[in-house]
Symmetry: C2
Subunit: 124 residues, 2 copies
DNA sequence: CTGTTATGAAACTAAAAGGTTTCATATCGA
DNA sequence: TCGATATGAAACCTTTTAGTTTCATAACAG
């Protein structure tokens, strides 16, 4: 119930440039497939498929209005991406990367190794 | 020169679960292909290909040490992802989403439309 | 009712992705 | 020098992906 069976995950969904553009477009405003596909050099059916993939990942929601289906952005699943990304932030935070990684990995023992191009390959 | 020709971009690179695991593994420590592939249920060659894709996206760096090649994480390209993601943060920040989007899009005119299920389909 | 519009499903295609196995090359160790 | 180790390149295979075209269905407008 929490995870709607998801054939496609967020990482996969945003891997395609077209789909990223679609997301951006739908951020502005809800719109039907025909309008969306007007922004792309491909058939409406192709865009429709992209929309299904996005919907699968939970990134867009659909709403029927008469004979048309309106699509809109749901950014919530991007939080997973954000969390994933957060893990790596420490690696680029600043010039202290090397030191920080070293300290965290080594728990403070041998504090001064690894600050030079010392290379763990000298391990024996 | 700035952009190293990149056949693969970051979005594509992290789309594959195996590659995400490789990244995580390499965050801990630099290591050669043989060691890396020991963590995966596939051939060394397959892992090697994943590494080339990651390297293509700039996410890993290689260093030759004798007969082996050591790979290590370079998280820098993930900043592009972070920037991309930042755009969407406003959509999940809090319950004021609807209001915020409306205000930003409309530049303050007609402040009270759109707060109800008003639906732009009533456009004529 | 009739024709037009909006859309998804189906069938098909070409190219890319993710693997495998085999082979060539370079470095190590003795 | 010789055999073992580490690795990338090549050729090949299978499944997915991104598109296309065609078709059926549902809702609208007269």
């Amino acid at each position: 119930m929490a995870v709607p069976s998801q054939k496609h995950d967020v990482f996969q969904a945003i891997a395609d440039p077209t789909r990223r553009q679609v997301l951006k477009l739908l951020g502005e405003q809800e719109m039907p497939v025909t309008v969306i596909s007007g922004h792309f050099p491909m058939s409406r059916t192709a865009v429709s498929k992209h929309l299904r993939i996005l919907a699968d990942a939970g990134l867009v929601k659909e709403r029927k209005v008469g004979r048309e289906t309106r699509y809109r952005l749901d950014a919530e699943p991007l939080m997973e991406l954000k969390r994933w990304l957060a893990y790596y932030e420490r690696y680029w935070e600043n010039k202290l990367n090397v030191l920080k990684r070293f300290v965290e990995a080594d728990d403070g023992k041998s504090l001064f190794a690894g600050l030079e191009p010392v290379d763990p390959e000298t391990k024996e």
